[in-house]
């Protein structure tokens, strides 16, 4: 039941946030923070019924006539991602304190609904429920971008929505096709994850259905041919929206690949792995090169996201223990470091009303705290040893080397290009001729948030073992269900 509360608490929090919009503009903020903070102990409680790789399970009938259950499960992988969601959720409420001053009730309602959907995505073990949650994430995020975003917000919001919704419908068709194939083989019409695992299929059937899943997740992950919504959405979204998009929503794509696209279709995924890895490598290099060419702070960070998520895609399809550990660490580290950079971009926008490098530069003297934090997270983003991103990228490359040395070698160049764009970011935004800025430096609220994020990324870089240990059983279970992809396979 704790798993249900894990979803219900942010949901109710969102409704209360809207209901409390009247008395005081800050009331919705406190309600949201309280709900997310309350979810943390619930998350701890939810882990207390372990069986196998699963820390907690829940199965309630929902629409039994169509073989649909309300089935949730929490394993190490979900635990880490839900934790990331909750923490970044609290962060985004705090950093919107001064940025969002209009219609705070509706803003926090949408924020909380989006987080609710994301948490449900990380927990759902019924494919229909998964799709339901997948759709629930979208609409509130659309509102966040369309209502509180920057100049071209409507365009960006609609592009984001059409990309994700179109690919989502493709996934729906794939899910239904899988359920029908399963029914034809076993006579049972079900959307249960465990029942559908290992459904025997003709090879071409498996491949086409897998592709339906892959495209939906690749769009969410902003893998290269499907990435063009991301720079617009990230750039135009309000800061909290960018943080949630980059930090959490993109991870649902990676999670979907890990949980569904590979284990449900092991043979097709094996055959598809080189293509997917190639796409990952292309994303790494392409994202980095384009990041290098951007004149807009947020756009640069957005393209760097594409590059970082290329490592995630590469690691997932390498599918060995090392690479998957790397994927998990990379997802968390990317969520933290990119989120932090978006927060800094938002803080700059709030003070200088621009994100354009041509109008930035020379800020260090006036805004030393903001600038030094910018340097720190830029360096984290380029993968300096000792910080979280390094561990993630290193493990992914190590794992990939065992499968496809060529991809590992090309991917490694991504760390070089990352250094180029990250340092360029620091140089153009903060260094240069000192300028007098009539704006206050970061306030205590921001400093506290950034310190927390910095501590997290250092901890992830210095001692990643707890994270790796938490995810290990579930990663092993995933690999066991798609064993053909292991080392030694083509």
């Amino acid at each position: 039941m704790m798993l249900l509360w894990l979803i219900l608490i942010p949901f109710l929090g969102g409704i209360l946030a809207w209901a409390f919009r009247g008395p005081h503009a800050d009331a919705p903020r406190w309600v949201s923070i309280a709900a997310l903070a309350l979810d943390l102990p619930v998350l701890a409680l939810a882990c207390r019924a372990p069986s196998g790789a699963w820390l907690g399970r829940l199965n309630l009938p929902w629409i039994p006539q169509l073989g649909i259950n309300f089935e949730l499960g929490l394993d190490g992988l979900s635990l880490l991602l839900v934790l990331l969601t909750l923490l970044l959720g609290i962060v985004s409420v705090i950093i919107s304190w001064t940025e969002i001053t209009e219609r705070t009730g509706f803003f926090h309602f949408n924020l909380m609904m989006s987080l609710t959907g994301t948490i449900a995505v990380f927990l759902a073990l019924d494919l229909f429920l998964f799709f339901f949650a997948w759709e629930v994430m979208l609409v509130p995020m659309y509102f966040l971008i369309a209502l509180w975003g920057h100049e071209r917000r409507i365009y960006a919001a609609i592009k984001f929505f059409l990309f994700t919704q179109g690919s989502g419908l493709l996934m729906l068709v794939a899910i239904l096709a899988l359920a029908f194939v399963h029914q034809a083989k076993t006579g049972v019409f079900t959307f249960d994850y465990f029942a559908l695992l290992g459904t025997p299929m003709a090879w071409s059937t498996e491949f086409w259905i897998m592709l339906g899943f892959f495209i939906a997740f690749a769009v969410k992950l902003a893998a290269v041919p499907f990435h063009s919504w991301l720079p617009d959405a990230h750039t135009e979204a309000p800061t909290a929206g960018s943080v949630i998009l980059a930090g959490v929503l993109l991870k649902t794509g990676a999670y979907g690949l890990l949980r569904f696209a590979v284990p449900l279709f092991p043979h097709a995924a094996t055959a598809f792995a080189p293509t997917a890895m190639a796409l990952g490598v292309i994303a790494i290099i392409y994202g980095a090169l384009l990041a290098f060419a951007q004149a807009d702070f947020k756009r640069l960070v957005a393209y760097s996201s594409i590059s970082h998520l290329g490592f995630v895609l590469l690691g997932i399809y390498a599918w060995n223990a090392l690479a998957l550990q790397g994927v998990v660490v990379q997802m968390l580290a990317h969520g933290i470091s990119t989120g932090a950079l978006f927060i800094l971009a938002g803080a700059l926008q709030e003070r200088l009303h621009t994100r354009n490098f041509a109008q930035l530069g020379g800020l260090w003297a006036s805004l030393p705290r903001l600038s030094s934090l910018g340097l720190f997270f830029a360096i984290a983003s380029l993968g300096l040893p000792g910080l979280g991103n390094f561990i993630g990228e290193f493990l992914v490359l190590l794992g990939t080397w065992q499968r496809h040395p060529v991809f590992a070698v090309i991917g490694a160049f991504g760390t070089v290009t990352a250094a180029a764009y990250a340092l360029l970011l620091v140089q153009r935004a903060f260094h240069g001729q000192p300028r007098k800025i009539e704006a206050p430096d970061l306030r205590a609220r921001h400093i506290a948030v950034m310190a927390g994020l910095a501590a997290a990324i250092i901890w992830l870089g210095v001692s990643p073992q707890p994270v790796v240990d938490t995810a290990a059983p579930s990663l092993a279970a995933l690999r066991a269900s798609a064993v053909t992809l292991g080392p030694g396979a083509p």
Binding site: V139, F161, V173, A184, S204
Partner: protein, 516 residues
């Protein structure tokens, strides 16, 4: 026997008696409130009688009418929608300040009666009778606000078009009768079994029939009239045109198609697929270009009928359940949408609240109304947590189960396009308000109706199990629904496809054209 027959027919008898009573009451004294309450009471009594008829089981009343679970399900939808329209119309008419109002209710009842006859019809005669009753009622209703030029224009347009399409239908029926010598659907099905339609008369007859039905359902390419009528008609009547008449005609088409087993005719299937695909794509694309809400929903309803046609093409028991679910969701959502437009309209003015600009900033002035509208638009777009989502998934499931590749592709592309204009309306409502004419006073009865629809929409979207169980039970009780579904294993690998069970080999061959 006789008593069970009467209880089966009771909803229809009550529905037919109510207009007579209302007419006599009007002759006695004109009283808006009394007429409206008696009409509502008649509709409620008829709704209650459905329960009785349900327990009485299937009954054939003369060779013309069949009353079974299918008829009763759609009768329920139609009576409930009519009741909702009545409740919404009451304050709308009051605000019109231009009586008399009483005949409006008479026409409303006639429309419902015609639709009910269509649902139960098993014979061309009943089909035509129901259709004409339905259309005559609608013509009067569309042109009811006499001071509005647009309404009169729309009424005239509808009169002419409905006359033309009825002529098509009649000629089609005559040609089919010439060929087979019967007008009864089951008899036609049996005769067609013995000698498949081969000569030119039967083909021409079916083509004319399909044209007539296409006009009535405003399917592409017979859709041109719809936006003008929707725009001109008063908002509550638009809801009748979109919901009651479409559902009744679709219900008839589905039953006719299955009784005839049109699935064995590849050409018929091709034509219907083409119409469905065009309706889904063109309906959504044309809606993109509109700034008038009623026109947008006119095109949206074209595409929605296209979606249900996908279920018709699938033709399995699952598809029946999917179509019933979809039409239920469609009825609730569309009634709600036009209900909200009704609540915001000033009937005394020249047009209803159908300009997109009227809705700018509505969220901050009337948050509940705008919130309800948002949820209804999400439902039309097929997004959770609404009935529209469940229904769309069900229809896609039916399509996937029957390998309908091309219609499914059109459905996906169409609904992705559809999102754009639904979201546009939502964004306009959420934008900051600018100066505009004052909104009409709140109408308690109408607001309550919309609230009920909203609760239904969300409740059945989150917990649809009882509704789906009921619909599956209804479908299982039908004698004419094919029990076997096309076996959907390895959809993408035709070479491994197992033989289709329980279907004649020729039938399987005919349907293969929709496979990959």
């Amino acid at each position: 026997m006789a008593s069970s027959m009467i209880s089966s027919a009771l909803p229809f008898l009550i529905l037919a008696a109510t207009p007579v009573i209302v007419m006599l009451l009007i002759a006695h004294r004109r009283d808006h409130r009394r007429t409206a309450s008696v009409t509502a009471a008649g509709l409620v009594a008829s709704l209650a009688a459905i329960l009785l008829a349900r327990s009485a089981g299937t009954a054939t009343l003369t060779p013309l009418f069949l009353i079974d679970g299918y008829t009763l399900f759609f009768l329920f939808l139609i009576l409930a929608s009519t009741l909702a329209v009545l409740l919404l119309s009451y304050s709308y008419l009051e605000r019109m300040h231009d009586g008399p109002y009483d005949e409006y209710y008479l026409l409303l009842l006639l429309t419902a009666l015609g639709a009910a006859a269509l649902l139960a019809s098993l014979h061309f005669a009943a089909f035509f009778l129901g259709l004409e009753t339905l259309s005559l009622g609608l013509i009067g209703l569309i042109a009811y606000p006499r001071q509005r030029e647009r309404a009169l224009e729309a009424g005239l347009k509808y009169l002419i078009l409905t006359g033309v399409s009825s002529a098509f239908l009649l000629f089609g029926m005559a040609l089919i009768y010439l060929d087979y010598g019967t007008m009864s659907f089951p008899a036609l099905g049996r005769l067609w079994d013995a000698s498949p339609a081969s000569d030119i008369y039967a083909y021409a007859g079916f083509a004319l029939l399909l044209t007539g039905i296409g006009f009535k359902l405003s399917l592409v390419p017979f859709h041109m009239w719809a936006p003008d009528i929707y725009e001109g008609a008063p908002a509550p009547v638009t809801s009748l045109v979109a919901v009651v008449s479409k559902i009744a005609i679709f219900a008839l088409l589905f039953r006719f198609f299955v009784l005839l087993d049109g699935y064995r005719s590849p050409s018929l299937l091709w034509v219907l697929s083409l119409i469905a695909i065009l309706s889904m794509l063109a309906g959504n694309l044309l809606a993109l270009l509109q700034d008038n809400l009623k026109r947008i929903f006119a095109y949206a309803s074209i595409s929605h009928v296209g979606y249900v046609l996908v279920a018709l093409l699938a033709g399995s028991a699952t598809a029946f359940a999917a179509a019933l679910t979809y039409l239920a969701a469609y009825a609730v959502t569309m009634t709600g949408v036009f209900g909200i437009i009704t609540l915001l309209s000033q009937p005394g003015t020249l047009h209803d609240a159908d300009r997109l600009e009227t809705y700018r900033g509505l969220m901050w002035e009337r948050p509940w109304l705008a919130g309800a509208f948002t949820v209804m638009l999400l439902s039309l777009a097929g997004l959770p947590p609404t009935m529209g989502f469940i229904a769309e998934v069900y229809v896609i499931a039916a399509g996937v189960g029957a390998y309908l590749a091309l219609p499914l592709a059109a459905l996906i592309i169409g609904s992705a396009i559809g999102l754009y204009y639904y979201l546009r309306i939502i964004v306009v409502m959420l934008s900051p308000a600018t100066g505009r004419a004052a909104l009409p006073a709140r109408a308690r009865l109408g607001a309550a109706t919309v609230s009920v629809l909203l609760v239904l929409l969300v409740w059945l979207g989150v917990y649809p199990a009882p509704m789906i169980a009921g619909i599956q039970q209804t479908v299982a009780s039908l004698s004419f629904v094919p029990t076997s579904t096309r076996n959907a294993s390895d959809i993408f690998a035709p070479q491994h496809k197992p033989p289709v069970k329980a279907l004649a080999a020729s039938k399987a061959r005919d349907r293969n054209m929709f496979n990959f």
